[in-house]
Amino acid sequence: MTSTLSALATAVATEGGHGGGQAVVSATGVFDLTWLLIAFPLLGAAILLLGGRRTDRVGHLIGCGASIASFVMGLVLFFAMLGEPSDGRAFTVQLWEYVNAGGYSVDVSLLLDQLSMAFVLLITGVGSLIHVYSIGYMEHDERRRRFFGYLNLFVAAMLLLVLASDYLVLFIGWEGVGLASYLLIGFWQHKNSAAVAAKKAFVVNRVGDMGMVLAMASMITVFGSTAFDVVFASAEGASTGWVTVIGLFLLLGACGKSAQFPLQSWLLDAMEGPTPVSALIHAATMVTAGVYLIVRSAAIYDLAPDARTAVVVVGAITLLMGAIIGCAKDDIKKALAGSTMSQIGYMTLAAGLGPAGYAFAIFHLLTHGFFKANMFLGAGSVMHGMHDEVNMRRYGGLRIMMPVTFITFAMGYLAIIGIPPFAGYFSKDKIIEAAFADNWVVGLATLLGAGITAFYMTRLMLMTFFGNRRWQHSDPPHESPPVMTVPLIVLAVLSVIGGFGLLYLGADIVDWLAPVTGEAHHDLPMPLWLLITITLATVVAGVAVAWAMYGHRAVREDVPAGNPLTVAARNDLYGDAFNEAVFMRPGQYLTRSLVYFENRGVDGAVVGTATAVGGLSARLRRWQTGFVRSYAATMLGGVGVVVLAMLLVRLP
């Protein structure tokens, strides 16, 4: 992994000019095999899910093998890409024609450029580490094979998402990761809470999918296509109104997948899934798909300042919301989930800043992938040793029992709160800079977020690894086996050097991405050193407050009452309560009243008509007296009528 990064860095160093809209060429040589990236994990998933019990014994190995094979393929492609000139690193691989209906045609083709390359390495690299970690974590689960099948399915779908060259194909991957997420959140199906959380995640994501579908429908209306090249190239010809609409629809989609306000509610519940899932899907990769989507659609957002503003606002709100929620949670995974929301808020905010921020969004996305996966896996390791206890108030002083976990977790901790020279410092600081350059308010929000981040992460560290021991097990906590700690160590190393490496070892990730995202320089309203000082001061203040509250004093085992803000934060800032009051309850009433209306109104009208006809028939039946003379009279009358009718018709 480290070698990858240095290679990346050296490669970046050699690369020179930049500017958006590089030419995309058909893939040749090794790039023609890009599809293998997806094929490996897909094959793995197929074998594991269709193979049945026969593959139980080797299931985890097949799963890991598929993921690692994909990673190796990614590396091969990466090095091949380094050999190309910096403005000729985008390749398309035409696989097959998907559909052609009413003039709208879609090809299944892959686009491999610098942006997707970065994601491929993140997904397969971190994904492989988490696969390996899961061998240990899921060892005692009888359905481990299936777990690996789902993980492989996820990796395949996620790779399709980032490699697609058409929004429709991207959407297939988009829904694929949603499905994998659904399956993995609800992996422990016998728990009702897990099943409910899985359903919630999927349904909320579907609300976002509405945005995706409508965005694509708008693209078809405006451009007649959803292919990246057509849409991006024609975007300038479209009216600002349409571009803004498309941008807002895409933002809705991104909000769903990345748990951004107002669709954030599912992410905290998603922690019901096994911890490796939380690390891979709900921290490092899938939830960042929204950011990828926005950055990938740069050509559209560049033309729609209003949509960009909306993205920034959403990012800022989520960044603060997530941070506040993270402060109040006692469940270690939920605290980390709040943190994830908040960090993705940073990325979204950065992406909303336009060309000035795209690269930093991706930069932070990558470093966040490292340190957040590290911390989630660390939390998993803690839980593994603590018999699946997740309440931090029952932890305490674990640094002695779990030294490796502690150290690696600490690396992640220092990275996320942004202490130089750890990874998070570089990426987050860049975002704060860009935010201040854009707007004071947004800048202050990011600064405040940094402070709160320092507070809640310190709180988490102190409650878990320091302080008094609040656990009562006959069987004391133990360190996890090497198969789990080795991935932790690798990720910890990445958390330390990732930021520095990506930014300064050789050259800049900003330059690497520039051919895709474009580049813009910003002017800070204050000297850079001042801003860095202020930021670090805020972080230190956050750490100090946390230490005063949780390090200085003993942590209580029972939950203190807390102030209104704390209570609100514990309740996810009433996001669920809002959804319940505004959508669920009225929805239930609506459904119930519709069922009533259906039975009484619509069906009632039909059945009522039938009853009325029946009643009328019962009355008309009395005409049937049985007296042949009555019938004869009727007949004669009828003959008269018929003759009369004929006369009237025939005679002039």
Partner: protein, 99 residues
């Protein structure tokens, strides 16, 4: 003589026959009224045959007679059967054809 007179006579006989069917309860009289109606129609046919110089009217009347004979045979057999079981020749007594 104006042949229309025959037609008018035919109408009168037909109507009387129809009235007989409608008002008489006795199955035999009702049945005979039907025969009267058939005869009235036959008279019209014969009159028209002569009026237009076309023999077909007479042929039709002939067939009507034959069919009427067949009908009488079956009809009377039914009346006799009903009389045997019900000891009555009133058509109103046989009013079971209803719900």
């Amino acid at each position: 003589m104006n042949p229309t007179n025959y037609l008018v006579l035919s109408i009168i006989l037909f109507s009387i026959g129809a009235a007989g069917v409608l008002v008489r309860r006795n199955a035999l009289i009702a049945f005979m009224s039907v025969e009267l109606m058939l005869n009235a129609a036959n008279l019209s046919f014969v009159t028209f045959a002569r009026m237009h110089g076309n023999l077909d009217g007479q042929i039709v009347a002939f067939f009507v007679m034959v069919v009427a004979a067949a009908e009488v045979v079956v009809g009377l057999a039914i009346i006799v059967t009903i009389f045997r079981t019900r000891r009555s020749a009133s058509v109103d007594d046989a009013s079971l054809l209803k719900l």
